[in-house]
Symmetry: C2
Amino acid sequence: MSTGRREPLNRERVVAGALALVERHGVDALSMRKLAAELGVEAMSLYNHVANKDDVLDAIAEVVFADLALPPSTEDWRADARALADAFRAAALAHPRTATLSLARQLGYPAVPVTEAALDVLARAGFDPEQAVHASRTLLAYVIGTLLREIGSGPPDETREAALVATGLPRVTESARHLAVCHHEAEYRFGLDLVLDALAVRVAGPPRR
Amino acid sequence: MSTGRREPLNRERVVAGALALVERHGVDALSMRKLAAELGVEAMSLYNHVANKDDVLDAIAEVVFADLALPPSTEDWRADARALADAFRAAALAHPRTATLSLARQLGYPAVPVTEAALDVLARAGFDPEQAVHASRTLLAYVIGTLLREIGSGPPDETREAALVATGLPRVTESARHLAVCHHEAEYRFGLDLVLDALAVRVAGPPRR
DNA sequence: CTTGGTGACTTACGCTGTAAGTATCACCAG
DNA sequence: CTGGTGATACTTACAGCGTAAGTCACCAAG
């Protein structure tokens, strides 16, 4: 059953296929055989282009942030910081199942331009090269934590509020209505503004304590 | 080769064995056969006590925060918040490889007492039931993001600074010395204080903007 | 035409999760 | 003591996994 002429395989096609498969059916559903089938090829052919399955996982994890479009700078560093965080979030949410992989491991080389952009924003805000690193790490940690919550949360669950009240814990009970739902974007923005406010205070000159 | 009398298997022993195996050799090394061997039993016997492998993973993920010891309250809400975050961090770092699992999925029922404690601290700080939820989510996101960075970072790497400088990116280069290393606890504390400062401002009454 | 290299295919091995069936044992009623 | 009864461990079996090793078809250069 010769196909005459066949588009030759290459690393890019393998990685793209893996990404598609993971996004469609989840990481657990990714196997070298299924990936090969997806590409109209036998499993072992993949090994001409990738070292092993971990290599594939690393590669798709990197793609997520390689696709990140860096927003242009303005003269408002807080707006720029927000835009950068938004771009990071958008990149992750564009490939949520793969993003879980990316966020759980070290971010790797494709994230370096993002770091550059973050440091630039913070330098323009007035941080010195060391404080900018601490500030960027704080921001990144917050954004990643938020993203993991968002990606990991299933569909809205009607029974959650009742379950929370049923614990009998007083604070959980009085907040049950708000704990039961999570408007992810609003929640993200709340904490982001909080962190940015705090950074603004730090850079304005720390109030003597 | 009868062993005469044998300690009977139960769910607790299965979960404890799985936790030990994961902490010793990583999640990928966990297989039902190896786990059974660890417990001196055949693989299929495990299924008398757990539904399947995912059940085992869920169970060990829960154990991490079930072991969390809640610190007592004082009259200083910031100190209490710090103590609670510290306890959370300590619980995760006590089982780092398993914590990766716990943090990547929804936190689940064992985390409810932690939520109660967090909401209580924030209520005593002056937040109303709704704002306390937002504040606790911000804090938790930050702490989780920080933990994932810490857990995911390998041993110190001497070549990192040179690699960063080699990118040629100006901000990355001028901060390379500080990007190359990460004192996790100090970094954690920096961001935590930042977030707590911001929360303190919010509760004191937002400065008109 | 020959030759060498590239890359897909084939086979095979040991390992995986788990469905289904069997054997062993502690216990209790008679 | 005997015979059942209900747990729980063991055995077998299967389809699917990652990948090492070997084979074969094609194509460009000599």
